[in-house]
Amino acid sequence: MLRHLIIKEIQEIITNTRSLFVLLICILLIPLGLYVSSKEYEQNRAAYKDAKQMYEERNKDNKGMEFVAEGYIPPSPLSIFSSGLSVYLPNKITTDSRGVWHEENDYGINNPVALLFGKIDFYFIITIILSLLAFMVTFNSISGEKENGTLRLIVANAVPRWKIIFAKIAGSYTVFLISFLVGVISGLVLLALTTSVPILSVSYLIPFLVIMMISLLFLFILFNIGILLSIKTRNSGASITASLLVWVLIAIIIPKVSPMIAQIIYPIKTEEVVNKQKAMKRDEIRAESDRTSGELMKSIMSERGMNAEKLDFFNMGDDPNVKAALVEYDGMIVDVKRKYDEMEINAIGIIEKDYHNQQLVQQNISKNISRISPIGCYTYLISDLTNTGLIELSNIEYNARQFSSFTESEFYSKLRKYYKEYHIGFNVSKGIFGKVDWNSIHVPTLNTYNYPTMISSLGANWIDLLFICFYSIFFFAVSVFQFIKYDVR
């Protein structure tokens, strides 16, 4: 019985012009999106390689403590599925002999047109286009049959209601799925044939399969919402209106408004303002440091019966008294300076940490708000799976730290050792090469960039995964339940 219902459903949808369009859109857009994203990835990859190579060549002989090591971060290979935050993510790590590292982003914006209108990637196609199509396929699945009178005829038979709705969902979803898969497979074939992305390798296919699973689940949610709306509205005109309203809400309004609402609930300042605050704090502490050192000098001088203010530091002659004072001052100032340096680092660290925490709080608020929409959950999951999401921000930090310690152990500490042994001055280019085996020291490069494993990305996003599963089950159950109570008159 169920089988007949499903077969009829599939037949009915296939004979409808709409499904032809769905197929057409899938076949056109999905390969296009994948192709464009992989071309962009190739470009980014080439730029990355160029930069890395240039860096190596340029710094071949630049071996000294003042050298700043640069680690170039490769673009994420999986970004061909979702570009996520990749434009905003740092793509370079710098680290120096003090072990201080920075993340930098110098992609720049290639073209403001792209900024104004956005991209077509796989993620966009699923969240905007296919989500809309899912509603378009389902909006009159129940209300249409009601208008046709066929629903009465079906229900007049000894078929349990749950089978009818079950078949409805299964049949229409299958047809949609087939169009989608045809699109995806043709996209993969196109990539394999025309780009250098090794799309058929394990490193691509496994994450891709996971992404596909989640995408299918996501589309399933939208499907069920569409069917639910079709059940709850009395004619197909009302169904389409309701579907579109819901689509606008979940695809556009909720995700876009969530960060703004978070900013209203929990306002925080921009990074530039915080930088300014940091600079102010720094100046304040430095001023105090200068004042303290001035006072120190004054007190040392006055102990020796001199007036510091009247001294001409540039023309002191050989007054032994002054010299002794200066030596004493030099001895004491080191501690004072260190104290203020520490104070500065601490104060700035506190500001930064505070700000970082505030950012995290706001981020979580907006994340939670946007999770009302399945698109929010989907976005976080997919962007993290493709290493272009929020996790990547902390992952870059992790890699930066790794790179910094790598640089320290492979480069600076070796140099330091030689410096100690041979009392080499600071300027290497001036060259006291002596017995140092310079060839044993290589300019540090970031050769292996680590991404979190897929399992850990999934694990970190367990809430979103849970929500997606929950939404699919929930809307499915509600549709079935509502249809059982449906008034067929």
């Binding site: 464009v36 240039m54 720049g108 900024l115 197909s236 876009k256 703004m260 990074e271 706001q362 981020q363």
Partner: protein
């Protein structure tokens, strides 16, 4: 006769479920947008007050315009902090002042965005079953059985439908203006309201285009389910696909270097100059800044030329879509568009020329007594130019072509 049709159209639509939903959707989304963008504007204004350069800072920054509430455009780029440092380099502040990383996932929902996406959506869908529904209900046959002239009917349909479409928009925008802009004391002058009126006019023209397209589709299709579906396809292509692919197609024509490579070239020049300076045993008293600047400028110019070429091709391609035309028109009108960005950047470069020869401190910050950077957004008269006329005429085409085609299709169309 036309009057009768218009009246019937208004009555029929205003009391429909669809109209109610549409009204709610428009009202809700337009007002949320205005509310949120007003808040955002105020926050950015505060931000600007903090960052405002004092006398001896080589910073170039400008105030956010209240019009960014309506069309945010590239205002983040324009209101960025540009610092002139040693060697006349321009350092850009954090690219998008994204406080919250989530912003970057989903871009700004300003009024223009809502109009571009949601209202065009409402317009085309609203129109797409105006005729097919009458066919399905059988009322079309009844009407034509009375010997009605078809042009009268179709004109009545167009006018009546269009009026019902814009009533909620005008009401919502007025509401938003009164409650969020005037009550929030956003500094609008009287002349600014003229800008607003032009903005609203463009929006109405834009929506008329989508409305006409929808009506045309409704005339040529047989069932409302199909016409709605087909309208959606048209809508998705015009609003999403064409604007998004413009950049992509343009890139196929011109090979543009990435900013990264530029950056590297620049530092190569710098290092080369420094080495020369060291090798010449400090003979010249100063680092050869002139050469560095010259070469840097050349690279920059080269890059900018290519960028501009890509941009203009992309602009042309995307102009096919009325959504992009509206974006270009409204961002320019609101002083948040390309033109304003370019203008601002030339001001920054002028400022750089003024200050670049000042000394720098150990951090590379320029110090000295220069007049702080100041910038005023372009006046309204700058807005009227050839490019604007071009975009506007494309918008008009989107009304004319479907109306003319639809008119003929409707004359020949059989009522069955």
């Amino acid at each position: 006769m036309i009057k009768l049709f218009i009246k019937k159209e208004l009555l029929e639509n205003i009391f429909s479920f669809k109209f109610l939903i549409m009204f709610l959707l428009m009202f809700f989304s337009l007002n949320t947008a205005i509310f949120i963008m007003t808040k955002d504007y105020k926050a950015r204004l505060q931000n600007y007050d903090i960052l405002k350069p004092s006398k001896n800072e080589a910073f170039a920054i400008t105030y956010p315009t209240p019009f960014s509430i309506f069309a945010h455009g590239l205002d983040d780029n324009i209101c960025n902090l540009y610092q002139i440092t040693f060697g006349g380099q321009i350092e850009t502040g954090s690219q998008k002042q994204a406080i919250n990383k989530i912003y970057n996932f989903f871009n700004t929902p300003d009024l223009l965005y809502i109009i571009n996406i949601i209202l065009s959506f409402c317009a085309i869908l609203f129109a797409s079953d105006l005729i097919t529904r009458e066919k399905e209900q059988g009322t079309l046959k009844l009407i034509f059985s009375n010997g009605i002239k078809r042009p009268a009917f179709s004109l009545g349909k167009w006018i009546g439908g269009y009026i019902t479409l814009i009533i909620p928009i005008v009401l919502s925008v007025l509401f938003g203006l009164i409650f969020f802009i005037i009550l929030a004391k956003i500094p609008f002058q009287f002349s600014d309201f003229i800008r607003l009126l032009i903005f609203l006019f463009f929006v109405l023209v834009y929506l008329a285009g989508f409305f006409s397209l929808g009506l045309f589709i409704s005339i040529v299709s047989r069932s409302s389910a199909f016409s709605m579906f087909f309208s959606l396809i048209v809508w998705v292509s015009l609003v999403f696909i064409i604007p998004r692919s413009g950049n992509l197609v343009a890139k196929q024509f011109i090979n543009i270097p990435s900013v990264q490579t530029i950056e590297i070239k620049r530092s190569q020049i710098f290092i080369k100059a420094i080495f020369e300076y060291i090798n010449s045993h400090y003979e010249k008293s100063k680092i050869p800044q002139g050469i560095i600047n010259q070469q840097n400028d050349k690279i920059r110019e080269d890059y900018l030329n290519k960028l501009n070429a890509v941009e203009s091709i992309a602009r042309k391609i995307t102009s096919i879509s009325p959504a992009s035309d509206l974006t270009f028109l409204c961002t320019d009108l609101c002083n948040t568009g390309f033109r304003e960005e370019q203008r601002f950047k030339t001001f920054v470069i002028m400022f750089k020329e003024q200050v670049k020869n000042f000394d720098s401190d150990s951090d590379g910050n320029l110090v000295g007594d220069f007049t702080p950077f100041s910038y005023a957004r372009s006046p309204l008269s700058d807005f009227f130019n050839l490019a604007m006329m071009l975009h506007f005429s494309i918008l008009i085409m989107y009304i004319l072509i479907p109306v003319i085609l639809g008119y003929y299709a409707f004359l020949k169309f059989d009522v069955r």
